[in-house]
Structures are given as C-alpha cells and as structure tokens.
Amino acid sequence: MAETNSLSLDLASHPDNVGLARLAVAALAAGAPFGVPDLEEIRVAVSEAVTNAVLHGYGGRRDGRVRVEASLSQDRLQVVVSDQGRGIEDVALARQAAGGDGERLGLGILFMETFMDHVVIESHPGQGTRVVMEKRLPVAALAPDGY
C-alpha cells in the first residue's frame, strides 16, 4: 500500500507532549478524507497510547523517549506509539478494562480498540511497548477502482 504522507516524532516522556502528539497525528489524518468524528476518535486513541507510554512505561519520568510514527496510505491511517519503558508483563490482562489505581480508570486500551479499527500491543517487560493502531478511511471516500 503506497504511503501518501507520514510523520515521525521523537518526544520526551513529558505530559505536555500528549497534546502535541495528538495534534500532529490529527493534522496528518486531516489530509485524508476522514470525517470530523473520525479525527476526534484518532485524537483520543493517540492520547491514550502516549499517556500510557509516559505514565506506565516511564512511571511519570520525563527523561524517557516516546516515538510516534504515523503514516497515511490510500485506505488507512496507521499510528505506531513506542517506548522503551517498563513494558507489560501480561498484555491480555492489561487489555481487560479494570479500574486502575487512584483515578485511573483502566479505559485507555478500550478507547483505542473502540475508536480504531485494529490495535496490536507488543511488549517485552523491561524493554518497552509498541502499540500499532490502524483506522481505515470511510469506504465512500475510497476510489471505486482502488487506483
């Protein structure tokens, strides 16, 4: 699938960069015929993935690196958020929405899975986590002959 546009951000694990990441990815996605609600959903999914990298991956430390790569192709947006933080012991368990500690709700991964069409989480404890998310363009926006 030919890539039409892409971006790559290398961010410090700073809370302020959560907004920066979603702004950049939404701006990239706005170059494709996504609807406004689609763009809002993409913003939430990116926010959740980057928040998890900052908060869980690096435990709130600001000196980690969070990589955000997004690419648009003819029929979809792919977003990859990766960190070299703590990693996840049991991804299946992490995916089960369960009230977290304090005011964390355990809804972040659920939001990613609800708002994107495809989410894969790869993680190695002690090495980091990589979240790959895809959202397909609305069918009506695709050329009938698929180019």
Binding site: D16, V44, T51, L107, F111
Partner: protein
C-alpha cells in the same frame, strides 16, 4: 488555570476551558477540589462547553469529583458536552452514572458561566 464559576444558594456551576488530559489533570483536579470544598452542600454543574477534548485521564478527574460529591450526598451534572467528549462518555458508560447534556450551539453562549461573571480562580 482556565476555570470560572458561579455560586448560587444550592448550586455551584463550574466552567472548564481547557483540554482535559494528562497535561491538565493535576491542575484541574486541584482547582475543582478547592471550589467543591469552598462551597460545600451544593450540587455541582460542570460546564464542558469549552472543553474540546477529554480522554480517559480527563474522565478520571471528572469521575473522581463525582465520587467525592456523591460520598457527601451531592450531585454532579455535566452540561455543554461537545460531540467529541460525548463519544468518550458514551463508550465509558457514563450515562449510567451521572446525567449529562449535549452542547447546543445556540444556547452555549448564554449558558457560559464565563460570560456572567464568577471570579477567575487563581
């Protein structure tokens, strides 16, 4: 902190004016708790008219305030909910927990607690 409020005998209306995410969670939580404590015994209406973004971290702040209030027999009611915020509330099943009303473009301005005063909270 972009927050404004109006105090009535039985109601505290608070308007937030920034995205609710990891970057703002701590400040928004502290500002809200200060107001909730300063004006006890009132139900609270949270105006999200100017909140264009909320994720699970922001929702955690809102639900955390809901729990605090509920524990004291007070209610929390959300108004001015934009479509993007409504989508998050819906997926989270917030409807089963607390009342919220969508933002209606025309009435958004009148409802704005910002417009009819209320001190800026430092």
């Amino acid at each position: 902190m972009a927050i404004s409020y109006r105090v009535e005998p039985h109601l505290l209306t608070v308007g937030l004016e920034r995205d609710l995410d990891l970057a703002s969670a701590r400040d928004v939580r502290a500002a809200l708790d200060t107001l909730l404590d300063r004006y006890p015994d009132r139900d609270v209406r949270l105006n999200l008219d100017q909140v264009s973004f909320l994720d699970s971290t922001g929702l955690g702040v809102v639900l955390g305030r809901y729990r605090r209030l509920a524990a004291a027999g007070r209610t929390l009611h959300l108004v001015g909910v934009r479509p993007a915020v409504a989508a998050v509330l819906t997926v989270a099943g917030v409807r089963q927990i607390m009342a919220w009303e969508p933002r209606v473009a025309s009435e958004a301005r009148e409802k704005g607690v910002v417009a009819d005063g209320g001190d800026e909270l430092a």
